[in-house]
Structure formats: structure tokens, C-alpha cells
């Protein structure tokens, strides 16, 4: 059983503090984990996007290379036909039979709708197709561009709706220059844009994929978006034209289409030697479809990861809170245990608790010290054993009746039953034993022990005093009552009457004196100096007056006075000081019945921390034993037990109280048979 011991807790406060420090770190780590997860996922998403875009760009690059090659070959084929027709026209003029040349395959007509000659006046004079009338094309750009000079070379027109063919066509023209340098007309080939768009269809660019051939003027020669074909649309705001102007002949970019508003990744290539650009574009939304799936999967994973981290953190947080609460509760319990242990260890009262089976459960150190019954000896024993052990240690004069007897008192309606026992071994302690029943589930009853030895002694002292005081009061009262009764009932001679009345008078005075001293002491003790009136007092004057007024017993000399000449001033209540000195002087005479001088001496003492005045009163009387001297200031103590020396036993107590109220010190030195010296100091 742990008696008076406490478990050392491992610095629980520190544990709490460290936990408070760890909590933000855990949350920080969680935040970092979440951020890292998202950073990684977003990086993966971006990389995936970049990869998709790069792959698409590569595909588009290859595609445009293909369309570029297709354009170049087509244009070259057309240009070869133009050169051939140009040469033949210069040779044979309007006799040139284009229809025959085409029909017999001299001219490969696969790539064009029509080939013809516009003469110098702008009249469409020859064609491989039948022409209804002499069509004037002098206002057409592909004619006008060649009139002034031959600088243009091959001209590729914007798509036009052919007046001759009624079909959309791209006109490719070259100037016919006569040998003399004159303008001889223009060879024109009308290429069906379908030739390009048919090829683009075979590329399968998807419903929103774009393949186009643009002029650097920003006008589409052919543009195919999905199945839709278009000719002649303007797209000068497309980024590629700016790039080409800056010399960037090949490249890619992402842009929202200026035509249909769809965002695409475009790849363009300038067609060398021609003012044409091939471009292919794929809808970014379309080409990033796979990427979006992967992205969504990654984002979902990151979200789930974040959720998982948060759930774990919340769990950890709860755990931490619960742990903190548990630790807090544990701390409270430990603190309470320590408090109780300290209280029981330091309590001067002893306690013994019993479990529900009324077996000893706890024994406080104070009980073990009071009774010399060790906790180890009592642990677990029933109350009968306990009672027997305790009873054996008690003095037979005041035995322990046992717990059962105490409980019987409780059953009688005394909830707090007590009894007084005395231990047999020295210092024969008086113990008050109490029993309290408990409703607790772990404690059935508690015995408590209070050491009342001192109170008992004080009670005894009081009883002795009362007896002494009664004796002291009754003795003069006896004389007063007895002699007055005699005087009233007997015939007494006048001389004896006077003698008896003198006794009555003297004893009345004695009675009054004892009563005065009792009242004085009572007042001084009760008021603890509050009724003292401190004034500046010259000790020489006070003691001189005191000695003059003092009435020594018959036949005794007045007290001798020894003092320095220089006046010695103290703060004192003159009346109280006089009373104290009178008591001491009176004792000096009373306890020196065989005479001898009584000396009152005043001196200053500079040896202490503060200067003080000493008043010594010395007699050469009967003196005291050291034991008597030590007790002489106790209330009602009489050094003289004979009763011959009148007194109440209060005088020296009053002197001590007055001295202490002045902040002074009372010392007594005495030798039995040689005399006593009482010294009274006052700060000055």
C-alpha cells in the first residue's frame, strides 16, 4: 500500500507543451504534402498537355509538308502546261487547238478545268473548252497584273467564279511576251479548287480539322473544315501572316479561328517560290481529348489524395485532442493525488481509511508516527485486528474501546463519534479518535486521530489555575466571612474586635488586589496593546517617582536606585510600565523575606541592532530553581507552593505581556537561595 508516497510524474507539463508545438508542425506537414501532391499532378497534367500538343504539332507538321508538296507539284504541273501553251501560242497564234491538245493528252488536263489564252486586248480568245462568245476579261486581276510588265511571273489569283466555266477556280496566269517585247496576252489555267480539297479530304482531319491553302494576301485559295469547303475567305488576322511577314516561314501557333471561332493548333508552311501558305489545324479541344481524360483521372487522384490526407489529419487531430484531454485529466488526477498526499503527509492529524470490507486501506504517516503502528503492519487487516493492535498500545488509564464501540456511538445518532485515548509509550500522547462512516464505494469508514496532548495539558493547567485561583480567592474571603460572622454572633472584647476587623480589612484588600490583577491580565491579553498610550517617557523620572511612592514591607529599606545621569528617553505607556515595575519590585521584596537590598538599575545597551534601555531589579531572596524560573511567566504559576507568599500567580505574566507590548524583552536570572534578577528592556 502506498503510504505517504507519491508517484513522480514525468514532467507532464512539458509533454503538453511539446504537443502544442507538434500540432502546427503536423498541420504544416499535411499542407506541404497536399501542395506537393497538387504540384506534381498539375505538372503531370501540363506535361501531358505539352506532349499531346507536341505530338499533334508533329503530325500537323508532317501533314503540312505533304500539302505543301502537293501544292508545289500541282503548281509546277500547271506552270509546265502554261509554259507549253505560251510557247505554242507564240509559234502558231490562234491556230493553237487547245481542245485537241487536251483531248489527245498532250496537255494533262487532270489538274485544271480549263486552259486558255486572253489576247492583248483582254479577250478570251482560246480555250480547251467551247467558248460561247469572245469574252472580255480585261478587268480581271489575273490579266491586269501582266499588262505592264513581265515582272510578276506566275500569278495565282484568288478564287473566282469563272465567267467562262461557271465554276470556282483559281486562275494561274503568265504573260505572253512577243519577241519584240510587246504584250501579247496571257495564258490562263483555271484550276478547280476541288483538286486541292479532294486531296485534303483524303487527309481525314476530323469534323473540325482545317486544311487550307492561303495566299500571303490572307485570302484562302482553298479552305476545308471537316466536310465544308470554302474559297476566297479572308483571314488576314490569322497569326501566321504576321509570322511570315517577320520571316518565319514555318511554324505553329494556337489561335481562335478568325473564321469560325474554334480554337485550333495550327501549323503553317510557306510554299517556296509562290506567295502561298499551306496550313493545317486541329481543334485543341479535340486533340486534347485524351489529355483531358488523363488530366481528369490525375485530378481525381489528387483530390482523393487530398481528401485522404485531410481525413487522416482530422483523425490525428481528434486523436491528439483526445490524448491532450486524457493527459490533462491524468495531470489533474496526479495533481490531486499529490495534493492529497502532501496534505496527508503534512497533516498533523492521522487518518486510517477502511475499504468496503472494513479492512485497512490507507494509513497516513501522522498516524504511524503517533501510534508507532506501521502502515505495512496494518495493511489489509480487518478492523478487529486494528482495534486490538491499537488498544495494546494505549495506556490502561485511557484505553481504546475499539472501532465497534465508536460505531455504536455513531449508530446512536452521533454522526461524529469521538473518544479520548492515551498512548502508553512516552511522551504519552493524548489522542482524540473520531469515526466517520462513508457512503463512498471505495471507503466504508475513516478513523481520524488528533494529538490533543497540548490542549489536554492546557486544560489541566486551567483546571489547576481555577483551583488555585479559587483557593486564593476563597482564603481571604474565608477570613472576611468567618471573622464578620464571629463578630456578629459572639461577644468579643473591643481589642480583639479591632484585631479581627484589621484582618477583615487586610484580607479585603488582598481580595481586591487579586481581582485587579486578573482583570489587568485579561484586559492586556484581550486588547493586545491597543489600549496602550505610548508617550515619551524619561526612565530616570519614572523610576525615581516609582521608588519614592513604593511602600516597602515593614522593616525593609526602600529600593536602591542606580542610574546614569544623562536622561534616558523611551516611548512607553508610563502607567503600564509603572505597573510592571511595581509587580517586579513587589516580588523582589516578597521573595526576599530575610531582607537584603533590592536594587533597581537603569542602563543603556548599544550592542544590539538597535539601542535599548534595560531596567534590572535585583534581590537577594530565596531565588528559584531553573525549572521554576522557566515557568514563572506562565499564567497562574506560583513559584512558591507554600501559599505563604500572597499572590495570584499572575504578576509576572502581566510583566511579560507589558514588556512585549513595548517591543522589549524580559529575561530572568536566578539562583536558588541567592536571589533573582529580573531585566526588562525597552527600545530607545
Amino acid at each position: 500500500m502506498p503510504v505517504g508516497t507519491t508517484a513522480n510524474s514525468p514532467a507532464p507539463d512539458l509533454a503538453l507543451v511539446s504537443q502544442r508545438r507538434v500540432a502546427p508542425l503536423i498541420w504544416l506537414a499535411a499542407a506541404v504534402l497536399i501542395l506537393l501532391t497538387w504540384w506534381h499532378v498539375l505538372t503531370l497534367v501540363e506535361q501531358s498537355r505539352q506532349r499531346e500538343l507536341a505530338a499533334a504539332e508533329k503530325d500537323l507538321g508532317n501533314l503540312t509538308r505533304l500539302t505543301q508538296e502537293h501544292a508545289i507539284r500541282t503548281l509546277r504541273s500547271a506552270d509546265q502546261v502554261i509554259h507549253f501553251v505560251q510557247s505554242r501560242y507564240l509559234e502558231i497564234g490562234e491556230r493553237l487547238d487547245l481542245k485537241a491538245l487536251t483531248a489527245n493528252g498532250v496537255i494533262d488536263s487532270e489538274i485544271f478545268n480549263q486552259v486558255g489564252i486572253i489576247d492583248a486586248k483582254g479577250i478570251y480568245v482560246l480555250s480547251n473548252l467551247p467558248i460561247a462568245s469572245r469574252l472580255d476579261l480585261s478587268d480581271r486581276a489575273h490579266f491586269k497584273v501582266h499588262v505592264a510588265s513581265d515582272a510578276v511571273g506566275l500569278f495565282v489569283s484568288q478564287p473566282v467564279l469563272g465567267r467562262a466555266s461557271g465554276k470556282w477556280s483559281i486562275q494561274m496566269t503568265r504573260r505572253i511576251t512577243r519577241p519584240n517585247g510587246d504584250f501579247g496576252g496571257v495564258v490562263v489555267i483555271s484550276i478547280n479548287p476541288d483538286y486541292f480539297s479532294g486531296f485534303y479530304s483524303a487527309l481525314n482531319m476530323g469534323p473540325k480539322g482545317l486544311t487550307a491553302l492561303y495566299g500571303v494576301d490572307g485570302v484562302a485559295r482553298v479552305r476545308k473544315i471537316g466536310a465544308q469547303e470554302a474559297y476566297g475567305n479572308k483571314a488576314t488576322d490569322a497569326a501566321m501572316f504576321g509570322h511570315i511577314q517577320r520571316g518565319q516561314l514555318t511554324g505553329s501557333y494556337t489561335q481562335q479561328s478568325v473564321v469560325d471561332g474554334v480554337q485550333r493548333l495550327y501549323y503553317y508552311r510557306k510554299v517556296p517560290q509562290y506567295d502561298l501558305v499551306v496550313v493545317a489545324g486541329l481543334e485543341t479541344q479535340d486533340l486534347l481529348a485524351n489529355h483531358r481524360q488523363a488530366r481528369n483521372a490525375l485530378l481525381l487522384q489528387a483530390g482523393l489524395m487530398t481528401l485522404l490526407v485531410l481525413v487522416i489529419m482530422r483523425y490525428l487531430h481528434r486523436m491528439r485532442l483526445e490524448m491532450a484531454a486524457r493527459q490533462h485529466a491524468q495531470l489533474l488526477v496526479e495533481d490531486r493525488t499529490q495534493q492529497l498526499s502532501a496534505i496527508f503527509t503534512m497533516s498533523p492529524d492521522g487518518f486510517v481509511s477502511f475499504d468496503p470490507q472494513r479492512c485497512v486501506k490507507y494509513v497516513s504517516p501522522a498516524f504511524a508516527e503517533m501510534t508507532a503502528l506501521a502502515a505495512e503492519q496494518l495493511d489489509g487487516h480487518n478492523e478487529q485486528d486494528f482495534s486490538n493492535w491499537l488498544a495494546r498500545r494505549c495506556d490502561s488509564a485511557m484505553p481504546f474501546a475499539g472501532i465497534a464501540a465508536l460505531r455504536a456511538k455513531v449508530m446512536d445518532g452521533k454522526p461524529d463519534a469521538r473518544e479520548l485515548i492515551q498512548m502508553a509509550r512516552e511522551p504519552k500522547r493524548m489522542l482524540q479518535v473520531g469515526l466517520r462512516s462513508s457512503e463512498s464505494s471505495t471507503v466504508s469508514q475513516i478513523l481520524y486521530f488528533r494529538d490533543v496532548t497540548h490542549e489536554f495539558e492546557v486544560d489541566q493547567m486551567k483546571s489547576e489555575f481555577v483551583a488555585t485561583a479559587a483557593h486564593e480567592l476563597r482564603t481571604p474571603m474565608q477570613s472576611i466571612m468567618g471573622f464578620s460572622e464571629i463578630l456578629l454572633s459572639h461577644e468579643i472584647e473591643p481589642s480583639t474586635q479591632k484585631e479581627l476587623l484589621t484582618i477583615i480589612h487586610h484580607e479585603s484588600g488582598q481580595l481586591a488586589k487579586i481581582l485587579d490583577e486578573l482583570l489587568d491580565l485579561s484586559r492586556i491579553e484581550a486588547r493586545r496593546g491597543r489600549d496602550f498610550r505610548f508617550t515619551d517617557v524619561c526612565l530616570q523620572d519614572l523610576t525615581t517617582d516609582l521608588v519614592k511612592a513604593f511602600m516597602p514591607p515593614a522593616g525593609r529599606a526602600a529600593p536602591e536606585l542606580l542610574m546614569q545621569k544623562m536622561p534616558l528617553h523611551v516611548m512607553a505607556d508610563a502607567g503600564k510600565l509603572r505597573q510592571a515595575l511595581l509587580n517586579v519590585l513587589s516580588n523582589a521584596y516578597k521573595y526576599s523575606p530575610d531582607g537584603g537590598p533590592v536594587v533597581l538599575q537603569i542602563e543603556t545597551d548599544e550592542t544590539g541592532a538597535a539601542p535599548r534601555a534595560w531596567i534590572h531589579i535585583t534581590d537577594q531572596g530565596i531565588g528559584m530553581t531553573p525549572q521554576q524560573r522557566d515557568r514563572v511567566c506562565e499564567r497562574f504559576y506560583r513559584a512558591d507552593a507554600s501559599g505563604k507568599v500572597p499572590g495570584s500567580g499572575l504578576g509576572m505574566r502581566i510583566v511579560k505581556e507589558i514588556c512585549e507590548m513595548h517591543g522589549g524583552e524580559l529575561t530572568i536570572s536566578s539562583n536558588l537561595g541567592l536571589g533573582t534578577r529580573v531585566s526588562f528592556s525597552i527600545p530607545c
Binding site: A467, A470, H471, R474, T475, M477, Q478, S479, I480, M481, G482, F483, E485, I486, S489, H490, I492, T496, L500, I503, E507, A641, S642, G643, K644
Partner: protein, 120 residues
């Protein structure tokens, strides 16, 4: 005259009792236990008026026991005189053989009446 011993350390009490009883009885006085036992041995008084609280090694109760415990003196009537008026003190004295118990301040006339009644 019947001898009556008065034992008290206070001379005034001895004087009071001797004035009260002096005309009718032979008064013997002692001021302490030793003197009291000596007077008992020598004069074998018929009655002893004995103070309880006295200076010296023996108090009045012990003197009482000495008188009542001695076959030669146990017939002597002893009245205790005490300032202690509690019942316990009274009973204590009775147990030790006291024939009467007077508490100070007592009436000298009552004491005289008791002495007269016993001396008769």
C-alpha cells in the same frame, strides 16, 4: 475539655476556628502535615479540622489517610476544610474516610455546631 486539632497553613484560619471553638474545646494547632501527625500522635485529639491544600510533601488528604489508616488513630473524627468545592473532591475525601467536608468560605458557626455534635 475535648481536644480539637486545627490544621491550616493560614494563621488567620487557625485563629478564626480557635476563637470560635476556644471557649468550649481544648484547641491544638498545626500549620502543616508533619505538625498535624505529630499532634495526633501526642495528644490523640477527638476531632481534627484538616485543611486539604497545604505546603510540604503531604497534603491534607494524605494526612487523613494516615490517621484513618492507623488503628490507633482511626477513631479520630476528621473534617476536611478545602477551597475545592467540587463533588469529586468531596467524594474523594469521603472515600478516604473523612467524617465531614467544609468548603471555604465556610461558616465558623456551622463548623462549631458539627464539632459540638460530634464531641457530645
Amino acid at each position: 475539655m475535648t481536644p480539637v486539632l486545627i490544621v491550616d497553613d493560614h494563621s488567620d484560619i487557625r485563629r478564626l476556628l480557635s476563637i470560635t471553638l476556644g471557649k468550649e474545646f481544648e484547641i491544638l494547632e498545626a500549620e502543616d502535615a508533619v505538625g498535624a501527625l505529630e499532634a495526633v500522635r501526642r495528644h490523640h485529639p477527638k476531632i481534627v479540622l484538616l485543611d486539604v491544600m497545604m505546603p510540604g510533601k503531604m497534603n491534607g488528604l494524605q494526612v487523613l489517610e494516615a490517621i484513618k489508616g492507623n488503628p490507633l488513630t482511626q477513631d479520630i473524627l476528621v473534617a476536611m476544610i478545602s477551597a475545592r468545592g467540587q463533588v469529586a473532591d468531596h467524594d474523594d475525601a469521603r472515600k478516604r474516610g473523612a467524617d465531614a467536608y467544609f468548603v471555604k468560605p465556610f461558616s465558623p458557626l456551622q463548623v462549631a455546631n458539627w464539632v459540638r455534635s460530634k464531641a457530645a
